[in-house]
């Protein structure tokens, strides 16, 4: 065993109403890639925030290279060789790469020297970057590279990475892993936060599993199966969703050669999209965030109008229709953003039930709302989808992410649609709730509805989808049967490591 770089002893942090970390102890060896594994809300973020000096522990201590370590703020942590790459980037679109890197450094060298060092470091670690490019023009994978290079320039002893692969294609993940292994072999320790089990098994030397703020185990992930790790993480036995064999029916939704400008100046316009969806089919659409997923959902929900005949529902043109007219005809949707888009945060669950259900459930006659019928509809969603809440009067924002997602998806499923379109149905949702949601979507398909799932989670898509396509820069790949597809093929459909070559050419 190598000498520990960082030892955590009995770290405890409580917030009003919740103990985020309760007596957590473990060690990170020098040069070790250590996974921190747990569901949303297990306390991973709080723990790394304590190491990075963003949060002060209530109890317990940290020992870094034999010395007591109590960073009061992130600059203390950085001075001690701790660096962190956040899940959400803190970069300025209108500045170039070198300027962005300089902004995050304690004592940045002159920009010309910095540009040379950025080029050197990024080439050394296989993360090519052109220091003079504007960050606004970079892909998500390249932006992450900027963050990583910014950390590497400070020569860290411990690099903390928070869910780094959620914005990458499988090919980009491979490149990142090679970089991390090289860093590890040079003696840099890495604390790798994730809930993706296969990744952790492929990359990490040791894994610490958190559940409900407690440390459950520290183990060698290579000696456990993904399933064992999952059950440690979730604390219960997981059942993969059942997929009864079902016959495919007629085409219920078809989109033909549709190009549509995004309504958002930073959005991605849709380019020449064509696909069909049959009754009983689950079509999975993969893609890295920001490749047109939001626009595709808006175009299908009716929030963005399209030329009438290019979107057909059960053979009839619906492109020109708004959301309610489409709902009436059997097309419902659930957007990615739960709070603020699929649900109004400051309204009760009853009001939120009315939000999309007034037409199909007949909750209003001549505009007058039947509140008691609406409340029983909300109650029905809560019961059928096991939404944990004290009642229908609770505000949407008071629910946890998983519970609100069950409510939102449940609401749309209860509308008994012919076609349902969902974007990121289980994003940020705990494993048990995710399983419930996926099963509900499969059951709906089993009853003969067409289901379109847009997701960045490949495992999820492979679990539920019959057919498969990927969005890349607003273009949709050919739809292929999901059976027999390998992760490599999917990665290529998502655009491979396309930006990689671009970076090479630009820096050459």
């Amino acid at each position: 065993m190598r000498m520990p770089l960082l030892r955590l002893e009995g770290l405890t942090k409580a917030y009003p109403g919740v103990v985020a970390n309760d007596d957590v102890s473990f060690e990170i060896g020098t040069g070790q890639i250590h996974a921190l594994l747990g569901e949303n809300g297990a306390g991973k973020s709080t723990l790394v925030k304590m190491i990075y000096g963003l949060v002060k522990p209530d109890k317990g201590e940290m020992i870094l290279r034999g010395q007591p370590f109590a960073p009061g703020q992130p600059s203390d942590a950085r001075r001690n060789g701790v660096a962190m790459v956040f899940q959400h980037f803190s970069l300025f679109d209108a500045m170039d790469v070198a300027e962005n890197v300089a902004l995050g450094m304690e004592n940045p060298p002159p920009l010309r020297d910095l540009a040379r060092r950025i080029r050197d470091v990024s080439e050394d670690y296989g993360l090519p970057l052109d220091p003079s490019r504007l960050v606004g023009e970079l892909s998500a994978g390249e932006r992450q590279r900027v963050e990583i290079v910014r950390c590497l320039l400070q020569d860290p002893k411990l690099l903390i990475m928070d869910e780094p692969t959620s914005v990458l294609t499988p090919q980009e993940v491979d490149i990142l892993f090679r970089t991390l292994r090289k860093l590890s072999s040079e003696g840099t320790s890495i604390l790798y936060i994730s809930h993706k089990l296969e990744e952790i098994r492929a990359l990490c030397d040791e894994a610490t599993i958190l559940r409900g703020g407690h440390k459950i185990a520290t183990c060698d992930p290579r000696e456990k199966s993904a399933r064992e790790l999952a059950e440690l993480m979730v604390g219960q036995v997981l059942h993969p969703p059942e997929r009864p064999a079902r016959p495919m029916g007629d085409v219920v939704l078809s989109v033909e050669k549709l190009s549509l400008k995004s309504n958002n100046p930073f959005g991605t316009s849709l380019k020449d999209i064509s696909f069909t969806l049959r009754a009983g089919e689950v079509l999975g659409i993969a893609g890295v965030a920001g490749n047109g997923q939001d626009e595709l959902l808006l175009m299908l929900s009716g929030e963005l109008r399209a030329p009438s005949a290019q979107v057909k529902l059960k053979g009839l043109p619906v492109g020109h229709l708004g959301p309610n007219a489409r709902r009436k005809r059997g097309l419902v949707s659930a957007p990615e953003e739960r709070l603020g888009h699929a649900a109004a945060p400051d309204m009760s669950l009853t009001s939120n039930a009315l939000l999309s259900a007034s037409e199909r459930k007949g909750l209003a006659s001549r505009g007058f709302i039947d509140w008691s019928a609406t409340e029983s509809f909300a109650q029905q969603i809560i019961e059928r989808f096991d939404v944990r809440t004290p009642g229908t009067h609770v505000l949407a924002r008071a629910l946890s992410g998983g519970n609100l997602q069950k409510f939102v998806i449940g609401r749309e499923i209860e509308l008994d649609p012919d076609v349902i379109v969902v974007n990121q149905p289980t994003w940020g949702v705990d494993a048990a709730a995710a399983a419930t949601i996926r099963q509900a979507l499969l059951d709906l398909a089993g009853k003969g509805a067409g289901v379109l799932v847009i997701s960045q989670d490949l495992d999820e898509l492979l679990e539920v989808a019959d057919s498969f396509a990927a969005l890349n820069e607003g273009r949709l790949s050919k739809v292929r049967p999901a059976k027999g597809l390998t992760v490599e093929e999917i990665g290529l459909m998502m655009g491979g490591a396309h930006d990689m070559h671009v970076a090479h050419e630009a820096s050459a």
């Binding site: 002060k56 703020q73 708004g322 959301p323 309610n324 309204m347 509140w371």
Partner: protein
């Protein structure tokens, strides 16, 4: 160190308590202001808030005034509140009020001196239509060209004031008394007079309209999809679009309702208590109604209470000018303070103030 913490749910207690607390704080701060002006603060506060209703000497005059002053405030505020809930900020009710009055008076003067039961109803329609029309200017500019309705509606107040002056001195001037600015006195033209319905109560058709509007708004906001969509658009615009709300349509509807109600208020005023089209006809009801709407928590029933309170400050302010020689502007400062304290206090509806030990975040 003082820290602000966002509450998980807005505090129901403070939502109700804040308007009352704001009134108390306004009385204290206003008292200090009066003391600095060299007046006895207790006498001044009593004169403004209590004497108009309870004093033997003043009540017989003031009590009917309460309905007369409060009705236009309530009528306008009810309309504004619907828009405010949808994040449509109509600040120009004063202008819509003036144009409504001019349309109403215009109908009356066109029929003068003919009798006819239909003249007054026609004036009502014309008043509402005038206010509606004036509100459509910011509505259309916003939906077509994405202009800011706050600026456009506010600036149109000054345009309306110039039109009012031009009418009082020109087209609508009383031809029988060309030496004086101002139109014929509509109170002396029976078919157009918005007279007291019950003697010495201040009850006139405008009061009736105000209460009908309150009930109408209450039903719309709590039981109708339009009210639901208004709230949705105000709280979560993306969720509103998801629910099928067309934002442009909502802007037109909100400004239209508020404009029509403000126009009605202007028409009832010019044909009753105001009596004639004069340069100084506009008395700031359209602006004070903004305070009424917020003090009443944008809730129709709350607006009734807030309308009476602000109506009271108008009457009390007049008494203060008469009895204590308080400057006329003091009462506007007073009304402004009320809004200021309310908005400041509302902070604690959504946030909790915590004292913590010094710690760097």
């Amino acid at each position: 160190m003082i820290r602000l913490e966002k509450r998980k749910e807005p505090s129901k207690f403070w939502r109700i308590a804040n308007p009352f607390l704001a009134v108390v704080l306004t009385m204290i701060a206003g008292g200090i202001m009066f003391a600095m002006l060299g007046k006895d603060p207790f006498v001044a506060i009593r004169l403004i808030f209590f004497d108009p209703i309870f004093s033997e000497t003043f009540a017989s005059y003031s009590r009917p005034q309460l309905l007369i002053k409060s009705a236009p405030l309530i009528l306008i505020a009810v309309g504004l509140a619907i828009g405010f809930k949808a994040n449509v900020w109509n600040i120009g009710a004063e202008g819509q009020y003036i144009i409504g009055a001019l349309f109403g008076a215009g109908v009356a003067l066109a029929f003068f001196p003919q009798p006819g039961w239909y003249i007054f109803p026609l004036m009502v329609l014309a008043g509402a239509f005038g206010g509606f029309l004036w509100a459509m200017i910011p509505a259309i500019l916003k939906t077509r060209f994405n202009t800011n309705e706050i600026l456009v509606s506010l600036l149109l107040v000054y345009v309306a004031e110039r039109i009012l002056a031009a009418m009082a001195l020109g087209l609508m001037r009383n031809p029988d008394q060309p030496g004086f600015p101002g139109s014929r006195d509509l109170r002396r033209y029976e078919a157009a007079h918005n007279a007291e319905l019950i003697a010495n109560t201040g009850m006139h058709w405008g009061v009736v309209a105000a209460f009908i509007a309150v009930i109408f708004a209450y039903v719309i906001m709590t039981r109708h999809m339009l009210g639901f969509h208004v709230q949705l658009a105000g709280q979560a615009p993306r969720a509103a679009r998801f629910a099928g709300v067309a934002p442009a349509r909502l802007v037109v509807v909100c400004l239209g309702i508020a404009g029509a109600l403000a126009g009605l208020a202007g028409m009832f005023e010019v044909s009753g208590p105001g009596g004639q089209v004069r340069i100084e006809f506009a008395s700031g009801y359209g602006f004070t109604a903004i305070i009424v709407a917020f003090l009443g928590r944008l809730n129709p029933l709350g607006i009734v209470l807030a309308g009476f309170l602000l109506g009271l400050t108008y009457i009390g302010g007049e008494l203060g000018q008469m009895m204590l020689q308080l400057p006329g502007a003091a009462i506007q400062v007073f009304q402004g303070m009320l809004l200021f304290f309310l908005l400041a206090l509302d902070f604690q509806t959504n946030y909790r103030i915590r004292l913590t030990q010094g710690m760097r975040a």
